[in-house]
Symmetry: C2
Subunit: 318 residues, 2 copies
């Protein structure tokens, strides 16, 4: 078992032993249900890696990582209501399995329990972790609201879009690795460098998601090719296409939904080299992440585990 798998296993063991306890069942069962749906546990992984990099007490890294996972799952429960999503990871979402009021309330209680965990945290840098977490939590809400607002707007600029995806997904990754490092008494400079590193890989990851949805091999991604196009989703590709030639863009998207529509748009975007530009932007974020790594290494840290993380995260089918 490599280090990444070992850390994931350790977290899953911790999770099994630390399910939420309380009554009524209709409040606490949904909380444990969403936590049990699995996933890669990227946020606890980042916290544990941040902790291990500074040779901290791993128990503190797991504990802080668990807070991040609880917060992440709180946001999933509420986002699924807002997005009217019926399933998550092949299982019914909380508001489908129970109902919307129960999903709102058990989400609320997960946010409170994330804070309760942090308030009972006994490791180093409690105050700094509480502050970083709280700033991040508000940014995630701001990102989600921006995302909803953008769906109603026609004038979204690329910079605002990148700021939105940074808040909606990347900052919690940054927060996870930074708080993990703080839980190991890592200094502020390196903690912030790790934060930036995770932001950069988060941005690259999110943009790659958009890229693969449109240009990926659907046999590998398991998704319908061009799902974002058919939904008219305001991705980086959509917004740039709109920005480059608004009239042509509107013409392309005014077609009725069909496989042909997807093919026509994909071809056009390849023609104007949007695919290459997107890959170029992803490359830039990855290069920034590598610059972060170099500075961390120069400060005397063994970055092997961060390299492993990068390899693990890049192992996605395309």
């Amino acid at each position: 078992m490599n280090t990444i798998e070992k850390l994931q296993t350790d977290y899953n063991q911790f999770l099994t032993l630390n399910s939420f306890q309380g009554s009524p069942n209709n409040l606490y069962n949904p909380m444990n249900y969403i936590m049990s749906l699995g996933g890669k546990r990227v946020r606890p992984l980042l916290s544990m890696i941040g902790n291990q990099l500074s040779n901290g007490n791993i128990q503190n890294g797991i504990y802080v990582g668990h807070v991040m996972e609880v917060f992440h799952n709180f946001s999933l429960v509420h986002d699924d209501i807002m997005d009217k999503a019926d399933t998550r990871r092949g299982k019914p979402t909380v508001h489908k399995k129970w109902d919307e009021p129960t999903a709102i309330l058990s989400g609320d209680n997960m946010l409170i329990k994330a804070y309760e965990l942090l308030i009972n945290y006994t490791g180093p840098n409690k105050d700094a972790i509480l502050k970083t977490f709280t700033t991040t939590a508000a940014e995630v809400c701001e990102g989600q609201q921006n995302d909803m607002d953008f769906e109603q707007r026609v004038d979204v600029d690329i910079e605002s879009y990148l700021h939105m995806i940074q808040n909606k997904t990347a900052v919690l990754l940054g927060c996870s690795i930074k708080c993990g490092a703080l839980s190991a008494n890592c200094n502020e400079e390196i903690s912030n460098e790790l934060y930036d590193f995770a932001i950069n890989i988060g941005m690259a990851f999110q943009l790659m998601d958009d890229y693969l949805d449109t240009f990926g091999n659907s046999d590998n991604t398991g998704k319908i090719k061009g799902g974002d196009i058919l939904q008219g989703k305001k991705t980086w590709l959509f917004l740039n296409s709109q920005h480059i030639d608004k009239q042509k863009h509107q013409e392309l998207f005014s077609q009725e939904n069909s496989a042909t529509k997807v093919d026509i748009i994909v071809s056009h975007w390849q023609e104007i080299e949007l695919d290459k530009q997107c890959l170029q932007l992803i490359k830039e974020y990855n290069q920034k992440a590598h610059s972060n790594l170099e500075r961390i290494e120069k400060s005397g840290f063994d970055i092997q585990i961060l390299i492993e993380l990068l390899n693990y995260l890049s192992e996605r089918k395309n």
Copy 2:
């Protein structure tokens, strides 16, 4: 201006100067909107009274009271979605004025901002206040879920009902006065006595609400007489009526809704002296509150302001 009015004015001034700042507007405007709808500001009042009783720095009392008011308003925003309420204090609820996703998200951000305020609190007993607040916040969620569960159940016992209303409304009053006292470095014994005092007046207040809805003079309450009866709401009166004679109770409630139905049920409940029993229970809670006051006075505190509070809260039309 008496002391109570003065404290309310002070809080409202603080609130005006401390509105939420941030973007996007669709996230922050709803937060300021709900906070601006007014009300008696009972929770900040309790915190400020708790603080003043121990001659604390009133700024700390206002600050802690503001946290309680933010939390209270967060719970109103989410409860209004769950209850499908269209108006609050004569104005549209947040999910009506904006939409449900925005109401969920701005509620979430209010909960985060309540914590942010506490994390930036610089007065005495920060840790104890954070813990008391967090325990209370989870209890409020548990109470709200129990309330929703009870509406679907036919077997709710009186003790569970009282436990539910304690969690749903009274504990936040207890938390408000206790944290206000802690913000003035009040000792644990008196802080807890104040907590119990507020719980007892909260319970009396809630039960009086139920009593007045059924037995009050609707000209004075401004509500439709017997609104709870027409909704089949599981109040203390309803549950006791069911408990005393289930068959008779079902018979009474199986009638079609009408003013006559209300009159018949009211008469029957008066006949079996449910009204007197309810008033007796309210009296018992008030007596408990007075016992709390006596113990506080015996410990050398000037309880004048608490007496004023009791008078203020009992000034309700019946």
